[in-house]
């Protein structure tokens, strides 16, 4: 509130983390889930695509709820390497 310029930069950062960032995590998570779910392959891919949307919504909410931008970027920084390893 006190430093509007700083606030703008912070909001842009959060939007980038939430929208492209959230999408990338959702995509990686659904691909990883398609690999590891104990279902027939094609079934797993469909199940993962059904479960992905709440994940995306929660990620976006988190990016704006976190107190700092660093906190907002935590899922991206922590989950992305794990999901990349688990994914195809």
């Amino acid at each position: 509130m006190v430093r509007p310029k700083h606030r703008y930069a912070e909001m842009v950062g959060r939007i980038i983390l939430a929208v492209p960032g959230g999408y990338v995590i959702t995509l990686l998570a659904s691909r990883a889930a398609a690999q590891v779910l104990p279902l027939d392959g094609r079934e797993a891919a469909i199940a993962a695509s059904l479960a992905a949307w709440p994940v995306f919504v929660c990620l976006v909410i988190w990016c704006f709820a976190a107190r700092t931008v660093w906190g907002a970027s935590a899922p991206l920084l922590l989950a992305a390497p794990v999901l990349l390893l688990a994914g195809p």
Binding site: V19, T26, L27, S30, R31, A34, Q35, L39, D40, G41, R42, E43, A44, A45, I46, A47, A48, S49, L50, A52, W53, F56, V57, V60, I61, F64, A65, A66, R67, P88
Partner: protein
């Protein structure tokens, strides 16, 4: 992080995220709501589709046999149903050109209705914004944004249940009244809008979240169960149709496709989808020549079926007219939720450009939809590329609405566009009655015209009441309180 801080950040997200999502979200919701009655709108705009009497089974079979004699390599027939009483036929002529016609299943008369996008335009617009794959992605992004706006809205309004019973239409603060209305609508249609947005996202999920090709990728091909039967003797179309009904159920055949490929001709019957929740099209495939049942498609894999049930819930074909009306009313409430949200934003933070976009996003969409429906029926039948002209009119009205909203003060823009829409809707109703629209005896079309009449009344009321509804200092209330 304290709860109060969370509510501040969620309030910001709800306002700004809701604004951006609402601008396009209203168009998605309104056209999707109208699309609930897509076949009825097509019938309304093309009176010739209202055929004369009940379908006769003999006519249906004879029509298919005639098609088969004419074009044995490829033909398609959509059998008559309550919502599409005329039979739709597609076949290939001698030069391989695709021909189309409709058939009156009572008399066997072939005819070509006027060329119109009809109600299908609204279906297409609500998930692609009439811009193909780009639109598909925009709609998905806006859908997620709407889910985010809903979630943050619930966090902000923690007393959501109590708020539902709070409505202060005469509150001294107009923004308070609009907020009460926004909250009440939100609580009523919350389960529906969450369901409809989520299920909408699942329909095209493989496009949005592609999995690389491989054994664990999403299977978009038709799972097909082979069931080799002893080859029978050469079959008539009538006998094949009987066999198809035997497999899929009596009167449960919706489409028949005959096509050549791989050295054999296949007769594929597809089952209706309007009698159960899942939108899975079961098929029965026969060898056209021998009449042998080559296979059926009925899938019971759980994840696949779950996805098809999600699609079925989104389309709402499962419950007949009652569920259609329920979807229509809840869809209108969802549109109202977005519209009230945009008005609240305008009251809270006025800005000429943002307000003009909000007016176009709501009033412009209503006007464009009215103009589209009118042009689908009233444009001269002989115009070349008639469906494109209809869409052009829709988009032109949207542009005019924006120009008007930019030029006029915001309250005037709202009420003038609403008034214009009200008068236009009334004119359409009168023209429909005067041109004998009610004479076909199709009750759905009368109901649709009645909805247009109600819309006209609502818009004219809105145009008259709007300045009072948004005035910044309702002097009467305040003066009354000060007097006591």
């Amino acid at each position: 992080m304290t709860a109060a801080k969370l509510r501040v950040s969620m309030s910001w997200l709800h306002s700004w995220g809701g604004l951006i999502a609402g601008w396009i979200g209203f168009a998605i919701f309104l056209t999707g709501t109208i699309a609930v009655f897509d076949d009825e709108i097509t019938r309304w705009s093309s009176p010739e589709l209202s055929v004369e009497g009940p379908a006769r089974k003999r006519q249906i079979v004879e029509a298919m046999a005639a098609l088969d004699a004419r074009s044995p390599a490829y033909w398609f027939a959509a059998l008559p149903s309550t919502r599409e009483p005329a039979m739709r036929l597609i076949w290939e002529d001698e030069e391989g050109k695709i021909e189309r016609a409709h058939l009156d299943p009572a008399t066997g008369r072939l005819f070509t209705p006027r060329d119109t996008g009809g109600g299908a335009f609204f279906t297409e617009f609500h998930y692609t914004l009439h811009s193909g794959d780009v639109g598909l992605w925009i709609v998905a992004a806006i859908s997620v944004a709407m889910l985010v706006a809903i979630t943050s809205g619930i966090i902000v309004h923690r007393r959501i249940f109590k708020d539902f019973f709070t409505f202060r239409p005469r509150a001294a603060n107009r923004q308070r009244s609009w907020l009460d209305l926004h909250n009440a609508i939100g609580v009523v249609c919350l389960p529906f809008i969450v369901m409809i947005i989520y299920t909408g996202l699942t329909i095209k999920a493989p496009t949005y979240l592609p999995v690389p090709e491989g054994p664990r990728s999403i299977d978009t091909k038709t799972p097909f169960a082979q069931s080799p039967l002893a080859a029978a003797r050469p079959q008539s179309i009538s006998a094949l149709y009987e066999s198809a009904q035997h497999v899929l159920g009596k009167d449960k055949v919706a489409f028949v496709t005959v096509s050549e490929g791989g050295g054999e001709t296949r007769f594929v019957a597809s089952r209706v989808v309007n009698d159960r929740l899942t939108l899975d099209t079961d098929t029965a495939t026969f060898d056209r020549v021998t009449g042998a049942l080559l296979g059926t498609k009925t899938v019971d894999r759980p994840a696949y079926q779950t996805q098809r049930v999600m699609a079925g819930m989104h389309f709402g074909h499962f419950g007949g007219t009652a569920v259609r009306w329920l979807y229509f009313v809840l869809g209108l409430l969802g549109s109202g939720l977005i519209a009230t949200g945009l008005v609240i934003f305008s009251i809270k933070r006025p800005s000429p450009w943002r307000d003009a976009i909000s007016v176009t996003a709501v009033a412009g969409l209503v006007l464009a939809s009215i103009a589209y429906i009118a042009s689908a029926r009233a444009l001269p039948v002989a115009i070349a590329g008639r469906p494109e002209v209809e869409v052009g009119i829709f988009l032109a009205v949207l542009c005019l609405s924006f120009l008007h909203a930019v030029c006029r003060p915001v309250v005037a823009a709202w009420r003038e566009q609403a008034a214009f829409g009200g008068v236009a809707a009334a004119a359409i109703v009168l023209a429909w009655v005067a041109s004998g629209g009610a004479s076909t005896g199709d009750r759905a079309l009368v109901a649709m015209t009645a909805v247009l009449a109600l819309l006209s009344i609502f818009l004219i009321w809105f145009a008259m009441a709007f300045p009072r509804l948004v005035e910044r200092t309702p002097s009467r209330n305040r003066a009354a309180r000060q007097a006591t």
